[in-house]
Amino acid sequence: MSINRRDFLKMTVAGIAVGAFPGIAIAGSELLKKKGQRVVIVGGGFGGATAAKYIRDWSKNKIEVVLIERNAMFISCPMSNTVLGGSRTINDLTRSYDALKKKHGVKLVQGEVTAIDPEKQTVMLANGHLSYDRLIVAPGVDFMFDQIEGLDAKVADTSIPHAWKAGTQTVALRKQMESMVDGGVFAISIPKAPYRCPPGPYERACQVAHYLKNNKPKSKVLILDANPDITSKKGLFMAAWNELYPGMVEYRPNAAVLKVDVAGKIAKTEFDDVKADVLNIIPPMKAGAVASMAGVVGADGRWCAVDFITYESKVHKNIHVIGDAVAAALPKSGHMATSQAKICAAAVVEMLQGKSPDQNPAIVNTCYSMVSNTEAVHVANVFRFNTEKQAMVSADGGGVSGKRSAEEGAFANFWLNTILDDVLG
């Protein structure tokens, strides 16, 4: 085989590329020809999809937006516990990305990112690459299966679902509950905070109890919480357990699950071996793998530090991080991801136009939990940028519902429909 001049040049270029950022070679060709300014967004969840729509709208469609997402459809994690309770199906929570494409001109690429080169501002996929002016990493969470002996991604997919990303595992967990004997134990293991959706596991206990009360009333819900106490809406959840599901929900604090016997469905804590009929282990979490590929994960190996004016990474310029992956005293929720996404979108548009971003952002989180098929409770806060601390700080006046109500249950349903229209419509 002879090497011609052209091949030699190619090899030389490749050699330089490896030298500039060791280990990463620019793969294949540019997947979409880049003409003007381009923002690439990795992850089409609440945060990423919102950023895509709002960058298009707020740049008057002048900035090209490419959204890379591995799934064909969007499935809402918020309200997915109601699939367990039975008031919704997973289809009710599934939406398409069509309006982002057709109405807002977002370019959607379905695929997996394999590497990111922050210096050459390029995202690699299996079949080519995409170069960017700014990159937004919105990877959500990944699970730290290695923290629990016996557990891994395959076990979660086949026998002990976490169901902490809405989809097939949510349906699988519901099916396990349906096949459970009356008098069985449904055990939920909660990791130490911070994790996605602080009130979510306690809402899940309510939804499971709601199903069991109506279908298998001799059964129990056992909560094994790694935290020293209920981390969110404590009084409201305890009232719901005591009043709606008396004698059905048992709560154990400081009960981190360290090991799992998969075949025997036994969860082992420091003190106990707990035998369950349905075992739902929610593992500890960290920023999704794309954050590691971008090299923007902090020293803790879990979350990404950002500047809260722009959501630009503290590690790499021109890479922004939004949503659950961000290291902050902000709840990891769908609404919070959209609130961050809008501040990030506004800043990205301003910066690409050579202007200064909004220096005084204030954002909101409203989080509803369904404690039965009709009643809900909420927690709501405004968070403001604090210049001295360079952090987002909870403003005065936030808090939780006075009591659970069907009125709030109706609002929770409105909230879901409206936020999905805001993100994807």
């Binding site: 709002y54 409203t366 709501a380 405004v382 006046g397 409105f414 409206t418 936020i419 229209d421």
Partner: protein, 107 residues
């Protein structure tokens, strides 16, 4: 004479332009603040879900409602938690932003 008046007016408009520019910057801050409201009230304050529609809302009504949520004079399930987190100046900014929005039938 007429021409001179027109010229003077043109100058006045031209001189006023930087003020309009500054106004546009303020509007972006208001727009960003309003962004968080969209989760419940819809993109730019329009929704078809049954939540109160803020697009096109009378400014005085908006400010009064938020001040009453803040003081507790107007009972609410969730809005008191939001209203207490904002300043009266921000109520004005948000009110101006939403008053200027058209109701979208699509949302």
């Amino acid at each position: 004479m007429k021409k001179r008046i027109i010229f003077a007016l043109t100058c006045a408009v031209a001189m006023a332009l930087p003020v309009f520019d500054a106004q546009a910057e303020v509007d972006k801050h208001a727009r960003n603040l309003a962004g968080s409201c969209a989760a419940c009230h819809g993109t730019n304050g329009s929704n078809k879900s049954g939540m109160p529609i803020l697009a096109g809302m009378d400014k005085a009504l908006f400010v009064t409602a938020l001040k009453e949520f803040k003081s507790g004079a107007r009972p609410a399930t969730v809005m008191q938690h939001h209203a207490k987190g904002y300043t009266d100046e921000e109520f004005e900014l948000l009110a101006d932003f939403f008053a200027a929005q058209k109701i979208s039938k699509k949302h």
